[in-house]
Amino acid sequence: MTERNYWQRMRRSRLSRRALLRASGRAGVGAAGLALVGCGDDDDDSATQVQQQQQTVAQAQPEQQEQQAAPAQQQQQDQQADAQAQQVEQQEQQAAPAQQQQQDQQQAVATTDSARAGDTDWERIVTVAVPNAVGGLDVQAPGNYTLKWNGPLHFDRLLQYDLVTREIVPHVGNFEWIEDFTALIWHINPGHAWHDGTPLTAEDIKFSIDRAAGAAAYNESGTYETGIAYIVSAVNGESSVVDDLTLRLPVNTDVTAPGSVGTTLPLVPKHLIEEIGDEAYNREGLASGPFQLVNFEPDIEVRSARNDNYPIGYEDLNRIHRPWVKEIVQSVRPEPVARLAAIQAGEADVTPSLEWELVQEFIDEPGFEVLFDPGCCPHTIFPNTLVPMFEDGSNPYRDIRVRQAMNHAVDVETIYTTLATGREQRAYGIGTRQLGGMQPEQSGPLTMEYDVEKAMQLMDAAGYADGFESDFYGTAGFFAWTDQIALSVQQYLDVVGIRTNLQLDPLPDFRARMAQRDVPGLHYYFTNQSPDPFQVINAEVAAGGTLSVAEYPESGIQELVEAQRSEFDPAKRKQYLNELAQLIYTNASWLFLFETVGTGLMRDDLEWDMKGNSRDYGGLWGIRPLVT
């Protein structure tokens, strides 16, 4: 899983089957081009074929220029090309699904082309050691939504994030804004079906949205509460089914609406839930995703089989696709050391979540590969600026100099090189660097480096030369080392006069306190790892957010929050987000620590580039077993 292999895969994976069909149609290559990319039996072999495909795509390049010259004509051509491509795909699917699957598998082998090599072992059953598997199977039910194993492994969403570009891309469907950004039209890609064979339609999308909001027709009494209504909070009216594959959804004029509904709402089957009810569905858990649930024994194992009818093939390996693994068995091993033992004893093939202390000795161990999953959940300490801290009504954290002093007082690099893996990076702005916010070339000059003298000068200038006392709340056990990191930060702050009383609690208790928003002091939490920052912004930055305790009305942050919310030009929005990230950092809004690097362990006859999925077992669809 080296950088080189990864980019090799990327380069080849861009030549998606559909894109080639479209491209050859547009370029006027016609039947010859279509035959070249997928209609005949002779397209299976790869290196030469990839070259030919690249030539085909090269021929299609002038398309952009033509588009500018004659938009109407081009649009017509595009439609014809799309229709032609779709027709060919449908014909292929109807005529020979088995052949199609074989071709896709062969293409997948060709496109992955790893230096670690080997063909894919299509019959392999992979066992994953996981800490728990409890709850029910209704992914929209309270509690189940927060469980990791039951997410994108089995359940689909309308949209997804490209794992590399972090952009929102189509999954089960795609959207377009209509009516001056007051409604969305959702187009569902044909071919998606529930695991019982029933086609997934616009009725299911409408039902999933209504059910999440507590407004589904079957639940008129309102007795069923999913607890995830916030996902569809932008929906401001009743959706209407245009046809089997099209849904109109009225929403607030909010650029994050499609992202919120599309990437976070798991889809559930209308036909089954209406037939058997919520409670029974919680035991059935019918889904439409890349894996089909075969067996679920709470706290023992979850067994899932590859959905061979999954309509998304191996065209783009950075997006959810038909799995390589024949079966995934998630075997429960609550104790981290026992998970490690399971891998050593050959009972498990991979565990995505294992502490660095346990896996570091396997770095050079033959037969194993240590998994590193960077770019997750920046550790951040939020000062509460909303309420007074002292009897005179003052709150030192409202003074930017105190907040700057805090940032200069803590030696972030030393903390993560001694307590964590050492591969971490400093945190800046809203969340991870991948959010499209502050980039390395921007953050460098702005970095508030470790400088105790400067920190003390700032404290002095703010009128706190003698320091002050503050409460400091943290979590225990959510991420590794949080308790030790909190202790370190406490001691660093103490040097510059910020004397804290540290209290560590389990995550739910900590979050309940933070959500009250009226508890003064420092709150050591995290920013979200979601690729689009709207969740972080809504919850932790925006005025009145559920966990917003650090608000700065005079800073201009809220104005930028509003501006990006109503900016429908992606480039401009990205610019706003960038400015927002910079402003949050230069305002020293929080105490910025570092981005989490998750670690795990895997046997080396598997290939899995986690790309930010360690905390989400849904990413198991990306495991490729190699023939040894």
Partner: protein
């Protein structure tokens, strides 16, 4: 001791037991409600306050705690402890589906501890002050001093990782239960061994044993038929308490060996605040401990004829 006496003891113990279970469950109900808000576990960062309130109401967690307690008692006497907040299944059925696993493990550990502890105790007593006695006592001290989570992990590494003889965890076959049984049963076997040894040493010096020998009885008959019966009385007494220890021990052992019993379920319910299941688990466990102690009380007359004769 007549049948009536046994019945009156049984009724008295049952009433005491019901009171104990009631107190335990009430304390757990009140403490858990005051200590944890499960809605925080069931929701995400973005869940609004209004949504949390709705969910709280749906789960029966809104309103004064006194009223919640009264409602709970009314439902509980009908054996309706509510549904799990996580799986939405009835809490009692969640627990009962795990109870058989814990029962298997507990029973295996009990049998293991008695099968190891009693013979070792007898041998140690009969060869008092010999190297065998010394070794048995050393094993007992080690058994009592070794934390079971550490012992469990060491057994996994030796028997599963190094030798590959046993599975590292899970449930399914006979092999899966061996390591957890040893881990759980070792401490109780040490207790049984020490009690048996001291009981046997006392009994072997009594007059009736000398009389039995003088009658020309074989030594094995003297030991197994006369001495052991009396020496086992303290072991039986402690057995009731050991059941409580074994159940408590399953929380750790089940966690280490991924054994899907009540212990792990309890640990999880405490973490996430799944009150109905937690209370159902406590109800089942406290009832089991009370029942085990009643059984021990009733077993005295069988073990010791003196009690059967007149309760001296």
């Amino acid at each position: 001791m007549g049948v009536q006496s046994i019945l009156s003891i049984l009724v008295s113990r049952l009433l005491q037991g019901i009171l104990v279970v009631f107190v335990v469950v009430s304390v757990v109900f009140l403490v858990s409600r005051l200590a944890r808000n499960p809605v925080e576990y069931l929701t995400t960062d973005e869940t609004t306050v209004e949504e949390k309130e709705l969910l709280k109401e749906q789960l029966g967690l809104s309103g004064p705690i006194g009223i919640q307690y009264v409602n709970f008692l009314i439902d509980a006497v009908q054996l309706d402890l509510g549904n799990s907040f996580i799986s939405a299944r009835p809490a009692l059925s969640e627990v009962s589906s795990r109870a058989s696993k814990t029962l298997q493990l507990g029973a295996a550990a009990l049998i293991f501890s008695l099968a190891l502890g009693i013979p070792l105790g007898i041998i140690a007593a009969l060869r008092r002050a010999s190297p065998t006695d010394w070794l048995a006592r050393l094993l007992a001290v080690l058994g009592q001093a070794t934390p079971n989570f550490w012992l469990g992990l060491m057994l996994i590494f030796f028997f599963s990782v190094q030798l590959g003889w046993m599975p590292t965890g899970g449930s399914g076959g006979v092999k899966h239960i061996i390591l957890p049984t040893i881990t759980l049963g070792l401490l109780t076997s040490a207790v049984s061994m020490r009690l048996t040894r001291s009981g046997m040493i006392d009994v072997m010096n009594t007059d009736f044993i000398r009389t039995a020998r003088a009658k020309g009885l074989r030594e094995s008959t003297v030991i197994w038929r006369h001495a052991l019966r009396h020496a086992l009385l303290p072991v039986a007494t402690i057995l009731g308490l050991q059941v409580g220890y074994l159940i408590a021990g399953t929380i750790i052992v089940e966690q280490v060996f991924a054994w899907p019993g009540i212990g792990r379920l309890m640990l999880h319910t405490i973490t996430v605040g799944d009150f109905p299941v937690l209370i159902a688990a406590i109800l089942v466990i406290s009832t089991s401990i009370v029942a085990a102690n009643i059984l021990v009380d009733l077993s005295y007359p069988i073990i010791d004829p003196r009690i059967r004769a007149g309760g001296r």
